[in-house]
Structure formats: C-alpha cells, structure tokens
C-alpha cells in the first residue's frame, strides 16, 4: 500500500530558490524495513534535488522490480514515476528519453535488477549513452524474496543462514567504466556527506551516470559475515577523495589544498571539486581508475567516490541526431507528409 505523508509544513522550514522546502521533494511514506539503506539514498536524492532547485515535475523516475525499485515512490511526489518490470527499467528509460529529452531521468535499480535479470539492458543503456542517472542500490541480496544471494555478493560471503556464496561478484562500477559510462561513482548509503555531492554531480552530468551505492539490507544482509553490512563497509571503505559539488557561478572553496584538488566542469557549467587522496588516481583516466579500484580491492578495500568521469560525452539523442524539440511535442503538421507526397509515392510504386 502507499500512504501519503501529512502535508503540514513547519513555517520556518528552509526554502530553496524555487521557494520549495525539502518536504516538497518528498514522496509517500516508505514501506521498506526500518534502517534500510535505500531510505537514506531517497533522503539524499531529496536533498540533492532541493539544493539544485530542481522542478520535480520535470523529472521522470523509473525503476524495475525489487526493494530498490519501490524507492521512487518515496521521493519526488510531483514527478511521474514508472515501476516497470524486473530488470527492464533501462529500456523503458531509453524510450522515454528519446521521446522527451527535456526531462531529467532518474533510474532506480538494485543488484538483482541490474546485475542479474537486467544485466543486458544495463549494459546497452550504457553503450547507448542514455542521458540519465542510474542508481544501483546495492545490498548484495534479494530482499523481497527473503535473502537469496545476488550477483554482486562477494565470494564466500555468508547469508543470514550461514551459507557461503559460491560465486564471484559482478562489479557494476568497473563494468560501467569499461563499457564507456561517462560518470561512475561508488558510495555508501550511510555516508551522506559523500553521497550528496556525487548525486548532484550525476544529475548535472550529460550522458550515462552510474551511482553504485552500497546500501545494507538490515533484515537479510547486515550480519557479521556479510561484506555488504554497515559495519563491514564502514571498516573497509576507502574514499578516492573528497568530492564537493559547486553550483554554477560559485567559487571553489579554498579549503582544498593547492595541487591536490581537481576541478571538473559539468554540463550546465557547475563544477565538481575533487580533493585527491592519492596522486596515482585520476578520475578522467579510465585505465588508471580501473587499476586503482583493483589494487584497493586486493587490499580488501571498497573504493568509493567519483571513480571516473568524461565530461565531453555525447548522449543518445545527439548520436541519433534527434531534434531539440521533444518528439512528444511534435504536431501533425510536421509529422504527417500529407496527400500530395502520398500521390508522389503512389506514382513511384506504379
């Protein structure tokens, strides 16, 4: 069931440039388990949209099936949402994106949805460079069917019943870099400070942006032997640096040390400021980024932060040379060639 939240606002709630409060970006009451990482991600999405002054009705939220795919109901109530079929959100988002390139597309998926049943669609949405933010709320487990392993779970990690996972994981982030995604970040649902700038950066990026967010399942995969638990991620998280989102027209904070920070321009002119912790890491070099992720993996670390970015990407609509006017708004006068041309076609066929 979905339950609406009460609409009473506290009169002193902070407003953004649109005069909206954070409450205006909320959705229905979540029906996920208390403490679910997915709810923290929804909160971070709400915060990001609030800060970016996004008009919610110009956002389309799409998802597949699973716990993660329920999440779009819990943020941006004024946005159209589409809870499609299992693993097939990328194709629906692709068609929607071609129909109206003026909206912002948020795809919300999980590890079962993207790394198993929908792996093919995940891959091809990246290959086509669909302009969207693709959230993987990654908990390494099938929550809705009660705790089976998913394809992102680590080898020999145990489930709630103490059974070993027998297969190696699929790493969606490294896969996305290899496939040519132009914005790839990994984060942790429990690290709000890191997550929000990464989401804001992704929202302003043109092209396919992947956010692989480790989001512990409190019910089925948050025990001592899990590698996707709150404790495990807190202990093994290593950030590639501190990322800050700098809106259009603002100076990058001087708190970054000279030489250690990288400035990355986004589609609308706003910037991502990245304070690097390791001189070997460069998020604009896919090869180095992949090596660095693997090195850290060998050390037993989960690398988080902005892993890769290419700010010169060409999205699907540009590749297909589609008109700037949303296709959905084209009227009959430009769509229908009319009877005179049909007569000519008839002539050519006789």
């Amino acid at each position: 069931m979905s339950f609406k939240k009460p609409i009473n606002h506290h009169p002193k709630l902070e407003t953004n440039k649109l005069g909206l409060t954070r409450r205006d970006y909320e959705g229905a009451v979540s029906t996920l388990c208390a403490g679910c990482g997915h709810d923290s991600i929804s909160a971070a999405i709400i915060e990001s949209c609030f800060k970016l002054n996004i008009e919610a009705y110009k956002v389309a939220k799409l998802s597949g099936i699973g716990c993660s795919s329920k999440a779009p109901a819990y943020f941006l109530e004024q946005s159209h949402g589409f809870n499609s079929v299992h693993g097939r959100m990328p194709s629906v988002a692709t068609g929607a994106n071609c129909a109206n390139r003026d909206l912002m597309y948020l795809g919300v998926s999980g590890d079962g949805d993207s790394a198993s049943i929908g792996l093919g669609q995940f891959v091809h949405a990246i290959r086509r460079q669909v302009d969207m933010v693709y959230f993987v709320e990654n908990n390494g487990t099938y929550g809705l069917t009660k705790g089976q392993f998913s394809a992102t779970n680590d080898l020999e990690s145990k489930n709630k019943y103490g059974e070993d996972n027998l297969f190696k994981p699929i790493d969606l982030a490294t896969m996305a870099i290899q496939l040519g995604a132009t914005y790839v970040a990994r984060s942790f649902s429990g690290d709000r400070d890191q997550l929000i700038p990464l989401i804001m950066g992704a929202m302003q990026h043109k092209g396919f942006a992947l956010l692989d967010i480790i989001s512990p399942c409190v019910t089925f995969n948050n025990h001592d032997s899990s590698t996707k638990s709150y404790d495990y991620i807190r202990d093994h998280n290593e950030a590639v640096g501190k990322t800050d989102f700098v809106p259009l027209g603002e100076e990058i904070s001087t708190s970054y040390k000279e030489g250690s920070s990288t400035e990355i321009s986004l589609h609308d002119g706003s910037k991502l400021a990245l304070e690097k912790t390791d001189a070997n890491f460069d998020p604009r070099d896919a090869g180095k980024a992949l090596n660095f992720i693997r090195e850290k993996e060998k050390e037993g670390k989960v690398l988080t932060g902005l892993l890769y970015i290419n700010d010169l990407a060409k999205d699907l609509n540009e590749t297909l040379n589609v008109t700037q006017t949303p296709l959905s708004q084209l009227q009959q006068d430009v769509l229908c060639p009319g009877s005179k041309i049909l007569d000519e076609i008839n002539q050519s066929l006789s």
Binding site: K58, V92, H124, N346
Partner: protein, 614 residues
Amino acid sequence: MHEVKSIESIQSTNDFVIKFANVNGSGSASANQMFAKAMFRMGIPVSPKNIFPSNIQGLPTWFEVRVNEKGYLGSRGGVDIAVAMNPQSYFKDVDEILPGGYLLYDSTWKRNFNRKDITVIEIPLTQLCVEAFKNPKQRPLFKNIAYVGALSVLLDIEYEVLEKIISEQFVKKPALIEPNLKALDLGRNYVLENLPYPLGITVSRADKLEDKILISGNEAAGLGAVYGGATFCSWYPITPSTSLAEGYEKYAKKFRIENNTGKNLFASVQAEDELAAIGMAIGANWNGARGFTATSGPGISLMSEFLGLAYFAEIPLVLFNVQRGGPSTGMPTRTQQSDVLACAYASHGDTKHVVLFPSDPKECFDFSAQAFDLADQLQTPIFVVSDLDMGMNDWVCDKFKWDDEYKYNRGKVLNKEDLDEIENFGRYLDIDNDGICYRTYPGTHPEKGAFFTRGTSHDEYARYTEDGEVNAATLSRLMKKFRTASELVPEPVIEINGEDSCGVIFYGSTSPAVHEAKDILKEKEINIDLMQIRSFPFNLDVWEFIANHDRIYVVEQNRDSQMRTLIMAEGGISPEILRPLVHFTGDPIQASYIVNKISEREVNYKSHINAKKR
C-alpha cells in the same frame, strides 16, 4: 533447339506461372523483380513470391511469379515456365513443370532432363556473359539480366518497359545502365538469332492496373507509421519483420527532417533484443510520443511480459507482428498465421489485446496509421498482424489515400490548462464510463497530474493496493474498455452471395486465394458467403454473420484453427458450426486447396440433408 514435343505445349496469354530457380546470394532477386515489374507496367496483374531459405549464400532460392489478367493473385501451384539457374535444384524444378510447359536453362553445361512432355529452351548464358563482360564479378549478375532479356522475346514483353525499369533502377548509378542494357540485349539477341519465338505463352498489354501500385506489406506498414505520426521505433532484427522497421526509417529519413537544422523528427533504435525493443516503445509512449516495435512470432513470446504491463498500466503501444512459420524458431522464411492466439491473449494473467488483421499492403498502410490513433484512444497495445507472404512480397493493391482533413486522435490526455481546472486527478478514474481514463504526460504541470505507473495492482489514483475488490474492479473496467474497442476497430468485410450459402471466414493473406476459390466454387454451383475478419475484438457484424449461417468454414494458415478457437471462446459459438479449413505447410494457401476442401464437404453436407429429407 526445341526437343521433339510429344504433347501439346501450353498456350495462353496473360495467364501463367513462371518460376525462377536461383542460388541464394547470386544477385537474381533484382532481375526477377524486374521481370515482375515489367508485367505490372504492362497493366497485367502479377504476384511475385520470393521463396527463400534461411541462408545468405549458396542454398537454392526461388522466385515464383503468377501472371493473371483476371486478377487472381494467390499462389496457384504448378509451373508453366521454369527458369532453372541452379543445378542443385534441377531435379525438383524440372519435376514441377506442368505437362506442356517450358524449361529455360543455362546450356553452357548441357543436360538431358528426361521430360518429353515439355519444351526445353537452351541458352548458354554463362558463356555469353563470359564473352561479353570482362569483370568476372559482374558476369553472374548480368547472367540474370540476360535471361530476362531472353524472356522478353520469348514472351513478347515490351522492350521499352524493361529499358525504362533499368534506367529507373540505376538512376543513382547511371554508369550501370549501359552494361545492364547490354546484358538484356545479350539474351534478346540470342533468342532472336537462334530460337523460335514467341512461345505458346505470351503477354500482351492490358489495362487492369490503373489505380494500383506494387509494394510489400512491410514497406506499406512502415510508411503508414510515418503517416500515423510515429516518432519512435525500436526493433530487433528478425525475419520477416525487419523490412518494416527499415521501411519506416527509409520514409522517415525522407519526410521527417527538420527544415532549418537537418535534425531528425524521429528516433529509431535497434535494440539489443525484443524485450528491450518493446520496453523502449513503451517508455516512449508513456512519455507522450507515438512509438512502435516490429517483430515476428519469437519476438511475441519474448515481449509477453511487457505486453501485460502495457495492458495493465494502460500505456499505448503499436506492435507489428509479421508472422512466420512456428513453433519455436520454426520456418523463419516461410509463411503462417499461427500467432493469432498468442497475440490476442499475450502475457500472463487475464489479458486481451486489440488485434488488426490487414489483408494486403493497402490495409497494412491504413491499419498501421490507424493503429496509432487506436492505441492513444484506447491506451493499450494495438497489434497489427500480417505475415511473411504479405509482408515481404510485393503485392498489387489499391493506391494509398490520405485525407488531409483528418486529425490525429491523441485520446484522453490532460494538458496543463485541463489540470488547472481539476480538483482531484485520478489516473484510473472512469469518468466517461467507457472504461477509458484520462492520462497525463510527464512534465505537464508543476503541481498536478503526476502519478505512479506500475504493473502492480493499483487503485483509481494509481496507488499500490492489495485490496482484492479494487483490483477486481480494475480488471472489470479493462473488459469494459475492450467492449468499447470493438466499436472502434475496423469492421469485417462481408459479401453475401445467395440464400442457403455456406459461410467462409478468413483474414489476412489468404484473401486472394479465398476470392479465387469463391469464383471457382460458383462455377460448381456452390455459393459461399464471405466474411473477412479485420480485427479483434469482434464487433456485432461478426456475430450476426455467424448467426446467419449454419455452417462456416474458417480458412487459416495454422494447424489448430486459432481464429476459430478465438471466435468460439469469445462468442460461445458451437464447434459444429465453425469448421476448420487449415493449411500450414508454410507455403501460401492455394484456391484449389480451398475449393477441394469446401466442395468435398459441401457435397457430403448436401447428400446428408437430402438423405434426411427422404
């Protein structure tokens, strides 16, 4: 060098079947099509059929052309003239020639065919081309043109007609006109100098095709989609539907380019599979564009889950199914009508879909354009179901027409101003009591009209619900919508031919064979009333026709008589009234087959009735 004839050669004008036997990938298709086009240009009804293997190069392929001044254009059976260019299939090709028929073969390598009852025409085509053309790559291609040239003398085809077709065909590569004409003359001159001509079979200009065109159903449907306002196409390559998406792209690239920018007023995406193809089309329609996908049987199986979503979440969609031989991978390059039930009831749970059944390329064009209106009006998937025979072969049909006064019907869509007036928007409120609710496109209004599209059970406000009564009400409303659909879809075409006639129900590509059978049966004093079903759900005319007949043959190209099952199930019609008349070899049904089946059973029926009377 005719062999001694032991029986009379076939004599006819504008009435024969010629079959070209070639090697796949040898460039024969364009030469054979040139022959068919020449018949058309001389005003003689013609039906070319490409009978090809699921192969790119090397296997035998045939091109059968029926020429019939009376306009009977279904498959006829039997071959009057064989042009045998493939030694691999000589045995079968020669065997099919009717007594008195003719065989033309490449006598560079001589053969004895052991048929005393046919006329063998020997032309050393390879040798002629080797002598005339230097480029070894061109020789086999020009060999094909050369036999068309030879046929032009043998059958008395107007030379100017062929000359014009060649110059049109190579309008963009004018350098090729001269060598093609040379090849044509090579064949012509050989016959003129060495062989008796014309044959007993000849052609003669007729004026039967004034308002007709020659086009394949797929190209027609692709053009219909452009006219119907489709801006989005997503598809996955599959025989025999691929040329439909290609047809759409071809015409869109011509007529859908933005004036100042040169940008496309459409998008076409070749998907990674059929699941993605339909998913994209659903996404585009959800977002307010007219989108479609084109596929064949295996694709329908793969798309089934998404079809249930579009049905239940009420998203418009147009889906073309160009049927081929099933089940499974089946016969990908042969024709059948065996997806009727798979389309009508596609997907799990209680689902029913609107299906249109065009019977020629003209209807492919009309129904394609109309399907986009129906999809928007009914907010549901609309299937346009044709088949390989109609989809991939060029058929003679009426010229396309378009009424410039006609306005697209985008259905019940609320814009910003509408929403301003509305207090309480509910996506699934049946305000007009026709089962069709009001939708909004994403991005319409800052505060109103947003909703959550879902495949889960939902209430009138699109909220998730597990209330069984609410879900049952949704399912019932969808049935109400389906009844509304029966008033909007194309009605059947009914032809009553006398009292006490038996009925014949048919649909799709069996139309030419059924109409020819009707005339033949009439000569045998068996009158049949015809009903061409053009859509599902069935409307009242369908039920009335059935009620007025005590015996009806349902002609279709599948094993299980699927349309009959659909009619029985939907109308509670007794199985005794509806009699299956099925053909499922993958070859198009022939009039003679229908005639035999009906006359045999009608004779039995009449003797049974007479016995009763006694």
